[in-house]
Symmetry: C2
Subunit: 185 residues, 2 copies
């Protein structure tokens, strides 16, 4: 028999989908409880407010990002391979989400700099990605431009290309980064 998904998870799954695709402000509590098919009381039992649900959503995204990437990059042994897997991972993310962009960037764009908790969460997430890239470049056998500078700017390129894919609705920009990097390394 089918494993029954717990109420809390149903809420979080639906909220994740809607916050990401529609945006936080454009998603109402009523839509969440309707699509999750749960009672409004249950929602407020698990999450004291919509803001708490937002935090849970982002914490889940943070956790799942690194888990998913670890799985995706399995088999990449050299630092060079890992770097390219990083780009490919973000290409795939955009493809499966129909070019919805990065949930962390989206939420900062939407809420601005007022909400400090959210802001710090996003900052920490992006830093972790950048540091990860830096460590691979450090291990890389390469004599050219300063490797840390290269890592930082590759990260920026990928960030910009991710935005660009949501605007153009295709992977062109991220492919362009790959092409550029192949010429450099």
């Amino acid at each position: 028999m089918a494993e029954k998904i717990k109420v809390r998870d149903r809420i979080l799954n639906v909220a994740t989908d809607l916050f990401y695709r529609q945006g936080y402000n454009q998603t109402g509590i009523n839509q969440i409880i309707a699509e999750a098919d749960i009672a409004i009381g249950s929602l407020y039992n698990h999450f004291p407010s919509k803001g708490d649900l937002l935090v849970a959503y982002l914490e889940k995204q943070e956790e799942e990002w690194f888990a998913a990437f670890e799985h995706f990059s399995k088999g990449a042994n050299t630092p060079r391979e890992k770097i390219f897997r990083f780009i490919d991972f973000r290409i795939e993310q955009q493809q499966v989400s129909a070019f919805c962009g990065c949930p962390f960037i989206k939420i900062v764009a939407e809420l601005g700099q007022d909400d400090d908790k959210i802001h710090k969460l996003v900052e920490a997430h992006k830093d972790k990605q950048r540091v990860m890239l830096q460590s691979w470049f450090k291990q890389l056998d390469y004599e050219g431009i300063d490797k840390k500078l290269l890592a930082d700017n590759l990260f920026l390129m990928v960030e910009g290309a991710t935005i660009s894919t949501t605007i153009s609705r295709n992977t062109q920009a991220l492919e362009s980064v790959k092409k550029f990097l192949r010429k450099l390394l």
Copy 2:
């Protein structure tokens, strides 16, 4: 005597500030009319709906972007100088706005891909910037990586760095792009 600012312009100026800083969904009509100190009837005389006000806001941003850049880059004669002025311009934009990011990217992040008119407006704006960069690189005396590829990826870097400045609240990322480009060119 002081030139009286027309009602329509007062509305648009206030809306511009609020849409940009607070976000579109987080700015209500009532706040706009209060800060612009005009009657609600006047607003709906000039703009049939909040959505029309949004369009006017973006069209104004588009127009002002290129006018402001033209002024900012006056005196830059070589393509190389123009390219660096482009980065410096975007650094200055972020500094004067207290790292609020790019209004075009923000609105896409907020509204998603549903609103086709807005989406196309943003796409056209970003394309114009990219094409501008491409033309300077084309004129550039440089023998290295494919110049169009370089232009496209510099643009992506700057886009990513702009996002990054709103997250870190400093110009580090954009400065890093400059440093990287100095090594390349």
